[in-house]
Amino acid sequence: MNQFTISGSPHIHGEESVSKIMYTVVLALLPAVLVSAYFFGLDAIRVLFIAVISCMFFEWVIQKYIIKGPITITDGSAVVAGMLLAFNVPSNLPWWILVIGALATIGIAKMSFGGLGRNPFNPALVGRVFMLISFPVQMTSWPIAKPVFAEGLTDAITGPTALGLLKEGVDAGKTIDQILADPAMPDYIDRITGNMSGSLGEMSAIALIIGGLFMIWRKVINWQVPFSIIFTVFVFAGIFHLIDPTMYIEPTFHLFAGGLMLGAIFMATDMVTSPMTISGKLVFGVGIGLITIIIRFWGAYPEGISFAILIMNAFVPLINNSFKPKRFGVKAVSK
């Protein structure tokens, strides 16, 4: 007699899977990878390669020898973590620092909580902040972008980032006009296209936005988190700019300088560490935007989005408890 499978409904499954989602993110990161390869050449590829391979390696070692469970390094999540980690560092970072960063990313931030889906904090950001605090010099010496086909420039010239220049200038009591007049300050077009110094992934806002739109189209992220971060940063920085234009730079500077786009589009939208409901995602984004600007204006670091995301990650359970989806048939008013 035939034996038939008995299982509960539904008997069909959509085509969605964890690895599909992860590799969609990898695809979305590619435009930014190309931009960083263009500006930093083989260095960029080297950093990406080391970060991805170390993340996959540590995940494999931990799963095989410590957890002794199934090996999931091919699900794409370690690849994404590695790529994002690489995106957060300067292209001349010594390889051993990167490997330590990967260990913090996978070992501390991801696997110690039980692996994919269980980590409260964004693993790549934990890795980045770990490296930033442990190796502040190496993590903040930024090579100047040198387009692959440009002539004349030699390797290994470092310079401050746009945000770094701004911070130093403001701290030294210069006005915004004086800071912008500094020849080291990248102009507007350079800031949007990525022709400036900075970490691998924060170079080109346009490449990041293309990736973001791709992910929204593929339904891997919602628009709420990036939109609310960008909107909050623009409004909050804009208010201060209106109050005192000599002290506070115009708000679009904050949108295109530093890691804001990278953070808003690729870091804060990490499924595991962001809220579950639409309203919760908006609140989360507003919080990140506010904390980012507070750190950029008044904090010790020129850049604040990594800390802002990690801080808001900690609030996610609270947000999930407080912001529920719109329930069907609750407080419904019939017309």
Partner: protein
């Protein structure tokens, strides 16, 4: 093009796979032996009125519904009661059923009009209609099998404004309602008018998803000859056939949590039910047969059959040119909400809308992984619940908290599990949680 009406919260769009949409309804040959389960409707099972050895005619009352939510059962065949015993049914349990040795020629019970002439004029009054619906054992044929006469009795203080007819058929694969609308449109609309009279409503709206353009056009044409019946095309979205979703889609009203549609002045009935009501009231014919789709990716001849209740599933599969060799699962109903059955000996009952044969490789679930908190389950839930959270609460046996998170609102549509990238058995846990929470609620009373 202006956007079509639909419900607002959640929903998914599984592959439609309506392979049998163009297969006209065929009459299935009688089986040698029929098994008629006594518990075919929601509520209490019927009590047998015949005993072993009795001769029965087609349409003869063989089991009665005694309690409030119960339904009569009639013999679908002429023949002899060979035993009353426990038999495997689609629930997977062995339950009481009447077995009839079928004789080839139908001898109908007196007073049943078996002619094909369409009787348009409705002479029965309100009370007679409801009594006839009750005596003919009509239950909701959409799958829930709720006794229709109970639905027709509007509680005091409530008023039905709209009768909403469910021709959505949002389940993939199934086409029985589609074919019925195409082939029995006239009778269906008369049935709707009978229900309108019984409920004393001003207006009836027939909701049909836009993937059945032919049915929409056909019924719109016919409805011109009927007063106050509106045919409403709807955007294709699962689970639009859910009662609450359909009311939202057609008249934009939200049934409050835990309440029935009558709360917002609506009564919902399936197209199959409306057709059965026509046959009962105009022809005095009890509910003994229905349209069943037999389909699946490997089925040679996807078909729609008019089947007498009690016919073993094997008979339908044979008529669709046999069980494909690599069949791994047989589903009674659609792929989203249907039940897997253990054997092809299980009989067709009033609630059987389709038999879906799935290939071996489609039959097994994929390995469940960690929840990655993607929130897809939350965004597709048509009731605005958080399935990921409910799964966790049920796992921890925190049923009280599950109730606070509205687990009882779950309509078991399966959209969450369908969409979960980690292949989590969300609906399994939700069903378990609902059952446990139900026990807690009952124990408080």
């Amino acid at each position: 093009m202006k956007s079509l009406k639909t419900f607002k919260i959640g929903g998914v769009h599984p592959e439609e796979n309506k392979r049998s949409a163009n297969a006209p309804i065929q009459i299935l040959p009688f089986p040698k032996q029929a098994i008629i389960p006594l518990g075919q409707n929601l509520g209490a099972p019927s009590k047998p009125l015949v005993k072993r050895g009795d001769e029965v005619k087609t349409g003869q009352l063989i089991a009665g519904g005694e309690s409030f939510i119960a339904a009569n059962l009639h013999s679908p065949f002429t023949g002899k009661v060979s035993k009353i015993d426990n038999f495997l049914d689609s629930s997977g349990y062995r339950r009481p059923a009447i077995v009839i040795d079928v004789q080839e020629e139908d001898i109908w019970e007196d007073g049943i009009d078996t002619s094909g002439t369409i009787k348009r004029e409705i002479t029965a009054d309100r009370k007679t209609i409801i009594d006839t619906i009750k005596s003919c054992g009509i239950v909701g044929l959409g799958g829930a099998t709720f006794p229709t006469h109970v639905k027709m009795m509007v509680p005091d203080g409530k008023k039905a404004e709209y009768l909403i007819i469910n021709g959505v058929e949002c389940e993939p694969y199934l086409t029985s309602d589609h074919r019925l609308m195409l082939e029995k449109g006239q009778e269906l609309l008369i049935g709707i008018q009978i229900l309108m009279k019984a409920l004393d409503v001003e207006k009836a709206i027939v909701g049909i998803e836009n993937n059945k353009r032919d049915a929409i056009n056909h019924l719109t044409e016919l409805a011109a000859g009927f007063e106050r019946i509106q045919i409403q095309p709807l955007k294709v979205k699962y689970p639009q056939g859910g009662e609450k979703q359909l009311i939202k889609a057609t008249v934009n009203r939200e049934v409050p949590s835990g309440k029935l549609p009558i709360e917002v002045g609506c009564v919902v009935s399936n197209v199959g039910t409306a057709f059965a009501v026509y046959e009962a009231v105009q022809k005095n014919k009890p509910l003994i047969e229905r349209i069943v789709t037999v389909t699946g990716k490997a089925v040679k001849k996807p078909s729609n059959f008019k089947v007498r209740v009690g016919t073993p599933v094997q008979q339908l599969i044979d008529a669709a040119e046999g069980l494909p060799e690599n069949t791994g699962k047989i589903i009674n109903g659609g792929p989203m909400m249907g039940k897997a059955i253990m054997s092809t000996e299980v009989p067709v009952v009033k609630g059987t809308s389709g038999i879906l044969l799935m290939k071996q490789e489609e039959s097994r679930r994929k390995t469940a992984l960690n929840c990655i908190r993607c929130s897809k389950c939350t965004s597709v839930c048509p009731m605005g619940l958080e399935p990921y959270l409910l799964l966790k609460l049920v796992k921890l046996e925190r049923y009280e908290d599950g109730m606070k998170e509205r687990i009882m609102d779950c309509i078991e549509c399966g959209s969450c599990q369908f969409t979960c990238p980690s292949n989590l058995p969300l609906l399994d846990y939700l069903k378990l949680g609902k059952q446990r929470a139900g026990q807690i609620i009952r124990s408080r009373k």
